[in-house]
């Protein structure tokens, strides 16, 4: 037996096996995409035609009318706007706050830090329903006249931003503190000796070095917050105030009266996440594996 033998052995069976593997993967990925392709197919066909010929039939007409109608009739733009008002501040504040905690925990060994990190991470792993009952009551009790339209934390964008920040900062603090711990200690040490303030150390030295991790987390957070369904279902009572993902539930009963419109509405809702995903796929995946303890 020699290396040459082993290599030869490796090389010969490769071809047919590889082809088989590709066949398998093509078939499986098509099967994986099938539900989405089916939704696209249904959304592209006029309702009159599908109700006449059935959904599994050769299409006579394919157009974007359902998309147009779903978008206009339900005033989807308004709900996308709601999402924007919630998601943008939530992502920015989460990153700011969690990077501050991570900076503290990773740079200053004040004994508390493992415990603090444990509290943050464990909190993020809890099922949301564990805290929802008291949270819902608390939101109803907190009066904010003049600050939110509802006069309370309940039924307001502010309320949703706060819970997103509180919940997601656990995960981000964990990931960022791991990241910051790997930056050489000499960096901040030197700055401190030079008389730089703590805030400058954080803002001008540590944060710029965390850009890759921050970018990955920002991508991940945007998609998570955009996709959130539960918080808004419980903490928002006025249909008008709901972000798009949660509004879909009401809209499907009210405006999306046939399956073709439901398909179009659901797909329209998915488009922003798909764009973010295709453009920033690498960021998204690296963020997900960076802190794989996320539920």
């Amino acid at each position: 037996m020699s290396t040459a033998d082993a290599l030869a052995k490796q090389r010969t069976p490769v071809r047919p096996a590889r082809i088989l593997l590709h066949v398998f993967l093509v078939v499986t990925s098509l099967a994986w995409l099938a539900p989405l392709l089916w939704a696209i197919f249904a959304a592209l066909r006029p309702y009159a035609e599908t109700s006449n010929k059935g959904y599994v039939s050769w299409p006579d007409k394919l157009n974007f009318d359902n998309f147009k109608n779903a978008f206009e009739q339900s005033d989807m733009l308004h709900y996308f706007g709601n999402t924007l008002i919630i998601a943008v501040p939530a992502v920015l504040i989460t990153l700011l706050l969690s990077s501050m905690v991570a900076f503290y925990v990773s740079r200053f060994d004040f004994r508390l830090n493992i415990f603090l990190l444990l509290v943050f991470t464990a909190g993020n792993l809890l099922p949301q329903q564990v805290i929802i009952t008291p949270l819902y009551r608390m939101y109803l009790l907190i009066d904010l006249p003049g600050i939110t339209a509802s006069g309370k934390l309940y039924d307001s964008a502010l309320g949703l931003v706060l819970i997103h920040v509180a919940f997601q900062s656990g995960f981000c603090a964990f990931v960022l503190s791991n990241y910051m711990r790997m930056l050489p200690h000499e960096l901040t040490e030197a700055a401190l000796v030079d008389g730089a303030s703590v805030w400058r150390m954080y803002w001008q030295i540590v944060l710029p070095l965390c850009k890759p991790a921050m970018a990955a987390l920002a991508t991940l957070l945007s998609i998570w917050i955009y996709n959130d369904f539960f918080w808004a279902i419980v903490l928002i009572s006025t249909g008008e105030n709901m972000p798009i993902t949660s509004a879909l539930n009401n809209l499907s009963g009210q405006y999306f009266t046939d399956p073709n419109l439901v398909a179009a509405g659901a797909l329209l809702t998915a488009i922003p996440t798909l764009i973010v995903y295709f453009v920033l796929q690498r960021q998204f995946v690296s963020g997900l594996t960076l802190g794989a303890n996320k539920g």
């Binding site: 501050m100 464990a122 790997m182 200690h185 996709n227 369904f229």
Partner: protein, 326 residues
């Protein structure tokens, strides 16, 4: 996780591991001594604000859930809170017709996820890790369901399951009156129908976690195994899989948490009607439903909390201990 972070970050190389331990003891003291009063205030603010927000909204409410579970309250004024001891739990365990089915469904959810999509994700990851062409295209296809929200997933799968117009019934000719298969309404079928959709998503998630894990496997291990004449399956079983242990732990925890969190899909499908009751749904129905039974809903939340913490705490302690040693 830690290993992934080490792997991903270029800075990892900049920290010489042996020199770190003594450093760690000395540096913080040096840091501390150089801090001015203003720095200390800044630091207290930087750590304090996020902690207060997180603790107030997540942990105070979790503890409030526990306290409320022993009371009866209709939510109108604090004076109507009455201590009822274990009554809520007694009712829950003995006369709630939905509670035990919900527990069972959460368990089934976990068992299905760990037995079908998880090995499937591992299998796909192993295939896609083989430096084949179009690997990224395949990955994108399998991962797509993870990116789309669960609410949208619910609507898309309803189009597949709809008894009249859905893909499945249309294909097998079960969409005519008298032949209906009601995938969503039938309590014997609906949980499995939802679980297909949940598995569809979970597979891609697991594939990505395992792909990251496989990237960390030392290639020389594989070469050595091939030189020893081991075939693909033998190499995987005795060389690759054992080195994936950290990933397997993460996968197990993620899957348990997913099973406990399951909510969106079921809510979109049928609001957790008969056949698909889940603990998360029961809790939610007790607050946004017509009856606002706060104490009772909290008792269910406590059950969910206890199960979650039983998984989360040992896992995190093990993770942080490992980190300290590293």
């Amino acid at each position: 996780m830690t290993t992934d972070t080490n792997m991903k970050s270029p800075e990892a190389a900049a920290v010489p591991p042996p020199g770190r331990a003594p450093d760690k003891k000395r540096v913080p003291r040096g840091h501390k001594r150089l801090l001015t009063r203003r720095d200390r205030i800044t630091l207290a603010f930087m750590a304090g604000v996020p902690t207060v927000l997180h603790v107030a909204l997540v942990w105070v409410t979790a503890i409030a859930s526990i306290a409320l579970a022993f009371t009866s309250w209709d939510g109108i004024g604090f004076s109507s809170i009455k201590w009822v001891g274990l009554d809520n739990f007694k009712h829950l365990f003995s006369d709630n017709p939905q509670f035990w089915p919900a527990v069972e469904h959460n368990i089934i959810w976990f068992v299905v996820l760990i037995l079908i999509p998880t090995p499937m994700g591992l299998f796909l990851a192993v295939q896609l890790d083989k430096k084949i062409r179009f690997s990224r295209v395949y990955q994108t296809a399998f991962f797509l369901p993870v990116v789309v929200s669960l609410a949208v997933t619910g609507f898309v799968w309803q189009l597949v399951y709809n008894p009249d117009t859905g893909l499945i019934n249309s294909l097998i000719g079960a969409n005519k009156p008298g032949h209906y298969i009601d995938w969503i309404g039938d309590p014997h079928l609906n949980l499995w129908a939802v679980l297909v959709a949940a598995s569809w998503r979970h597979t891609g998630y697991m594939m990505i976690l395992y792909l990251a894990g496989l990237k960390g496997v030392d290639p020389s291990l594989r070469e050595a195994s091939a030189l020893d004449g081991a075939n693909e399956w033998q190499t995987f079983k005795s060389v690759i899989f054992p080195t994936l242990r950290p990933t397997n732990t993460v996968v197990l925890v993620v899957t348990i948490i997913e099973a406990l969190r399951a909510f969106d899909l079921v809510f979109v499908f049928n609001k957790g009607a008969q056949g698909t009751e889940l603990l998360s749904i029961l809790i939610t129905n007790n607050i946004i439903g017509e009856s606002s039974r706060i104490g009772y809903g909290s008792a269910i939340a406590v059950v969910l909390l206890v199960i979650s913490l039983a998984v989360i705490i040992p896992y995190l302690i093990a993770t942080f201990r490992k980190e300290r040693q590293a």
